[in-house]
Subunit: 234 residues, 2 copies
Amino acid sequence: MGTDSPSSLAAMTPIARRPLHEAAIDRLRDLIVQGELPPGSRLNERVLAGQLAISRTPLREAFKLLAAEGLVDLLPNRGAIVAPVDAVRIGETMAVMGALEALIGELACANASDGSIAEIRALHFEMRAAHARRDLAAYFRHNQAIHLKLAEAAGNAVLALTYRQLNANVRRVRYMANLSPERWDAAVHEHDAILAALAARDGARLKALLSDHLAHKTASVLAALTEGLVKAAA
Amino acid sequence: MGTDSPSSLAAMTPIARRPLHEAAIDRLRDLIVQGELPPGSRLNERVLAGQLAISRTPLREAFKLLAAEGLVDLLPNRGAIVAPVDAVRIGETMAVMGALEALIGELACANASDGSIAEIRALHFEMRAAHARRDLAAYFRHNQAIHLKLAEAAGNAVLALTYRQLNANVRRVRYMANLSPERWDAAVHEHDAILAALAARDGARLKALLSDHLAHKTASVLAALTEGLVKAAA
DNA sequence: TTTTTGTATTCTGCATGCAAGTTGTAAAGG
DNA sequence: CCTTTACAACTTGCATGCAGAATACAAAAA
């Protein structure tokens, strides 16, 4: 099939349609989200630039971007730190996400293409596979993918983007602590119901299910957060 | 305690606790929001840096920030342009704002301090004064202030910030076209009801009123937008 | 020992220089 | 006359250099 010019394979950069060292800032974002750069840690421009093998200038631009996403805080004349994760802020973020998910539920049922629903169903079963294997990392990954795909399926780009940004901030906490087995099982069952409502295009029901699901997730996340803080203090 | 040397009053910069040329990027934001830099126009780094009397480096950082706010689009290797204002995107943004305003209404009724409500009432009457004088600019200003203050009064910082960013994008359209007298009068009456519901802390009612208000505003904005586009095409 | 003050180091914030990429133009070919 | 291609001017993206601010540290005074 896709035999692209076998002659000159010189300037072929198949992946990077993006020109700059933007890959490096994505890597930085991952470092923050995955907690390898813990909340509150200072981000020394020179050191980080060295580690990411880029210069200070694009790194500073990355700081600005990540600050807008809420992942880092900019301290005037004192550089950047990884945004602290406090329970208040996380709770506030989850509340906003709840409002957005309600809208996502309605719009997704109204606008999602059959293909999108099929894709979400596929992700759902991959997630269930991860659950069956007790593979927490894969579970989280597929879980995230489902919610993001759902946000996209609503057919509102602004909504999807906003949801995605808020989600990045919450995601950090999930990496910080595990899930109780009971909560895990319950979450999977909730996802079963969510998928069913989406497939039936029952907007009102999906909205309610997502709302409950998020409320549970909020409690779980906040519990993980306080536990994590205790752990950090110990 | 805080007796700071009354002797040397040299380095006193009372206003600017912010260190950098951030004032310049605020100015750039205003230029975009107020439409002096029309949607779609290219942002040449060198000339803009000259106009704002700053260097290219902080300007580029500003671009990144404004891109995250959705006010400019970054074209790889081709610089930045003022984000085009298309009806689809504005409609999507308004839909998200609707979801947020519903939450704002609930939370504001539950959490707003009496002082906040008093301040909103004051702004309300200033807005009515502007309406009485047919001072459209002042009306818009106070109207914005009310909605932003309401968002703050909800007591959820993330909610207020998210709302504010989405609002910046819509605000550009309002500068592009006037308001029909009937719509203007109706909007003022809607605001009367909104204030009353807030004062009574009737969350459900406020939520419904804000929802209706936003629906009307959406129609008005989209009408203004198409009109503006026609005007631009002519 | 504790507090204060002066100094040195480190870091940020910004300006500028250079290479790669893009766009506009004009000449050559069809 | 239209299309294609080579070239030139410009623009972005990035690296680096320099000045000002903030912090750390040490010495001196209480």
